[in-house]
């Protein structure tokens, strides 16, 4: 019997920005301070609520970027013309406040299991955020669960967590869909059966897959996994919309 996971925080809580890090030209990581933060699981998210001076409110979901045990942090990619993400990427400053509800989600989460089932992480664009939390969790624990990340991204400029991921080249593969770095072996292309079959754990090893990103990416990637013979119940998806 496993211990009951911490119960979600179901009320809105004030969170203060304690620091910001630019990940690339359109992506920023926000460090947050939340009084009484109960800790989270890798893959969970929070709802972020912004309130304007006139009372207008907007709420969006953002994955927790850090590993369990680390302070809450969000990595936000600017959606051009969006209501919330441009504010979080370009405007909000250290000392400003937002409201959070969470950590939440008990489905799209990973923790080491007794069987050490191999884990395949498939990220499209900003979908790398909760999968990075899973990689970090494994590394911090010194856990030996086989884990591999396949990260589909348009161009080298759009890679998030570049340095951190480069340090784990044995378990991280980048797949550029529009432009590649000079001399890159694979021409830019969408994730396909061949690329996936070359990286994915074979179904006989009873792998778990976590797929996250824009809806079109998730549907495409989950379809490819089913074609490879993955059991649908072992393919967990998180569509960002």
């Amino acid at each position: 019997m496993t211990a009951t996971p911490p119960q979600p925080r179901v009320n809105w809580q004030a969170a203060t920005i304690t620091g910001t890090d630019a990940e690339n030209a359109r992506t920023r990581t926000l460090q947050l301070q939340v009084p009484g933060w109960p800790g989270h699981q890798a893959g969970q998210h929070v709802d972020v609520r912004l309130t304007a001076e006139n009372g207008y409110q907007a709420t969006r979901a953002y994955s927790l970027a850090g590993a369990p045990g680390e302070d809450p942090a969000l990595t936000v990619v600017r959606a051009e013309g969006g209501e919330v993400s441009p504010y979080l990427v370009d405007v909000i400053q250290t000392g400003d406040q937002v409201e959070l509800r969470g950590p939440i989600g008990g489905y799209f989460v990973w923790k080491p299991g007794p069987r050490r089932r191999p884990v395949l992480l498939l990220a499209g664009g900003s979908g790398v955020v909760p999968l990075r939390a899973m990689l970090r969790h494994r590394a911090r624990l010194g856990d030996d669960t086989p884990m591999r990340l396949l990260y589909s991204v348009r161009s080298p400029e759009q890679v998030i967590y570049r340095r951190e991921l480069a340090g784990q080249a044995d378990r991280v593969s980048l797949l550029y869909t529009r432009t590649t770095p000079p001399g890159w072996p694979r021409p830019p292309a969408r994730l396909d059966h061949t690329a996936l079959a070359g990286q994915a754990w074979p179904p006989e090893q009873a792998p778990l897959a976590y797929v996250c990103g824009p809806t079109t990416f998730v549907e495409h990637a989950a379809g490819l996994l089913t074609d490879l013979g993955y059991t649908p119940a072992d393919v967990r998806t998180e569509r960002y919309g």
Binding site: A52, N54, G55, V91
Partner: protein
């Protein structure tokens, strides 16, 4: 009291033309609780179904051949945004209702995709409601309810059912999709009738 996020404006603004609790938007948010149906005008028709079971149906061409109105109006969404000075074209429900005999007190609009909403029949009469097919001079896009939607702007906008297929005229009130789920049965923005017991 909520925490204010400094420098956040969103798409909202304020004005005294606003019903209580609303903020002004210049965009036109798309709200949909289900799949967006794509109905071609060739397949589209609109039916009034009376309490005695009589049906009156208009094809797209028949609807477009009726006298057309051009309502200019403010709209108010229960989620808190309002939009001023929207321009529509459509057929007044007065014209359509004149074609049927009814003693019904209530109406329920039903739509492609399964959405429903209810209102007193009186709220569809008196130049207050339209079957609208044009927004801002252009055919109503599918995401905003095209080919045609009900437009009842004096009530919260969930009553202005998208992808409208017909209206049932009823002796007894029958709550629709959001009315059953917990929104107000009538939904007057000026009395801030948002939730079922407001």
């Amino acid at each position: 009291m909520a925490v204010i996020s400094r420098g956040f404006t969103g798409r909202g603004q304020t004005s005294n033309r606003l019903p209580p609790g609303q903020t002004l938007t210049t965009g036109f948010p798309v709200l949909t609780a289900g799949p967006t149906p794509h109905v071609s005008t060739a397949d589209w028709n609109f039916t009034l179904l009376t309490e005695t079971g009589t049906e009156h149906t208009w094809t797209w061409t028949e609807l477009r051949d009726l006298p057309q109105d051009s309502p200019h109006t403010d709209i108010h969404c229960v989620t808190g945004w309002s939009k001023f000075d929207t321009d529509w074209q459509g057929v007044s429900l007065d014209i359509l209702l004149a074609e049927v005999e009814t003693n019904a007190q209530f109406a329920q609009a039903y739509c492609h995709g399964g959405y429903t909403t209810n209102l007193p029949l009186a709220d569809l009469r008196g130049g207050q409601a339209w079957i609208a097919h044009t927004f801002d001079g252009a055919p109503l896009p599918a995401e905003h309810g095209g080919p045609a939607r009900l437009l009842v702007p004096h009530l919260y906008f969930w009553k202005s059912a998208k992808w409208v297929q017909g209206i049932r005229l009823l002796e007894h009130d029958q709550p629709g999709f959001w009315e059953r789920a917990g929104y107000h049965n009538y939904g007057d923005p000026w009395r801030e009738q948002r939730y079922w017991n407001d």
